[in-house]
Symmetry: D2
């Protein structure tokens, strides 16, 4: 199967600093250059920046960013989302983001991101966390695993480029 | 906003007859020719045929078919789905199909389709039902409304082409 | 297993007429007299009256009414609900009401009730519809089945007492 | 409002050691002695032991244990659950457990428990974690907060009795 890979990018919504914006945008752009579709929560913060970055990629074409929303309203998606999936299920939508992923990439993150990393672990998804991005991505990256479940460890990377290298090989 | 329209196509899964297959395929092809993205339940029956039809369209490009699955597994999507969204939420995924739609089009259908039409009504979505396709689409088309809620009536069309005409004008 | 039966009562929310209120209250009272726990959507209309009726039963004790809410807030339950389960999942909570039931009883009803009857059918639940209550309960009762699925037909009863007789024998 | 408090007890499913079983049973028993209803995931491990403990309480009466299941089947609940709520929503049911709670108490725990603690934080729920129980309850208890959100800190207790003291005062 040569289907386009679906990469879930998870990270904090709301206000984020310039450093995080840069990481998210770089990730978005490079994922699309490497023929990956971006699945995210469709809101602001990391979710917005990763979609914004996607659109800078030379290989970008319409349909490469998917936003899975907690609300019932398509209008609540950020402007860089191509395909809008409102779930009306509040944070339970995090499960859907994770299940849609061939690989989950975490950037920084608070409680929402933590719940997504935990679910991704439960569902056996490949998880890559960008260490320098801080937040729960950094903390969990150091642990390498979440519980005693026998499965592939969490992959801890320093830079976006390193994450891309791994995704390319999947 | 000149975003691509998201059209949910709902109808029976499992075994369907040749007449229904033809309608679903025609709808899929014409939706894509008219620059609409297809949102469906991602399984077999109507869902498979509409995605199959989409791929025949001259204007078809990767990403035009989205399958929102009841299961937790991407592998359970039919082969014509480009973007696979497993929800792990059983039939509660029907809500997500309906909420993702700018317009919902019904073809034939049993209990699952009926629940989707009912939800689409509740969420105020524009609903088009193809009368000659039989099943609940035909029955509900004749009623024109589902309850006393003040909202646009259900649009009853005879042929696929008529549905496309209406969608073009949205 | 001599567990208390869980009976889902479904019907219109919002404003309802005196006749429907009476039916819902009678049903609530008689279900509890017959040692059945009531599962409902926890809001107003039929849901409120059935819980109100439950509290009139001589055999009533705390915990006999369960409200499964579409919202994230316990405070949105009606005052007669003992056990409040907010889902935060909008109308997708209808699936949970139906799955919790040993038997589903429908009174009148609009689009929401229709979606619940349809889901109850899909999940193979025993369905009893009170004909004289009108709405979708009456319409679907006349059909006796929703699609070609091989399963027990829908049970059409005239009065609450008749529904209780059937539930007693389960 | 003097409604019975709804306490969500979260912790690892599957095999658990004797020490954890003891804690869970003690918590179950004492919660019911203090007129609290237990909300849990309805499966085995901590969920089973807490329900088992509940039934030892002198003040126990039918209806004090509620199991919110990931599956579509009532039969998958453990035998100590009085009220069975199958969601058919896989781990997304964790949201419902948390939303149903007036207070969430964590015992030990792996990835599932971690996702529940994270969601409880997001939804502003009061969280009590039993430190000596290990797992994520211990780790998160030490952090006292999950992210920068302004809300009440996580309450870290050594023993079950301490948790009960706090719950009594709510």
């Amino acid at each position: 199967m040569n289907k386009i890979k679906q990469v879930a990018v998870i990270g904090k919504g709301g206000e984020i600093n310039e450093e995080l914006k840069k990481i998210a945008k770089e990730l978005g752009e490079k994922l699309v250059e490497n023929n990956c579709r971006i699945i995210c929560g469709g809101r602001d913060g990391i979710m917005k920046e990763v979609c914004k970055g996607a659109k800078k990629a030379k290989k970008y074409r319409e349909g490469m960013t998917v936003g899975i929303l907690p609300t019932t309203k398509k209008e609540t998606a950020n402007e860089y989302v191509d395909i809008v999936i409102p779930t009306g299920m509040s944070y339970a939508r995090n499960q859907i983001i994770v299940l849609s992923a061939d690989v989950v990439v975490g950037i920084g993150g608070g409680a929402g991101t933590l719940s997504e990393i935990a679910m991704a672990w439960q569902y056996g998804k490949k998880i890559i966390l960008i260490e320098k991005s801080g937040g729960w991505s950094e903390k969990i990256a150091k642990e390498e695993k979440i519980d005693e479940k026998e499965r592939e460890k969490i992959i801890r990377v320093k830079e976006v480029e390193e994450a891309i290298e791994i995704i390319r090989k999947i």
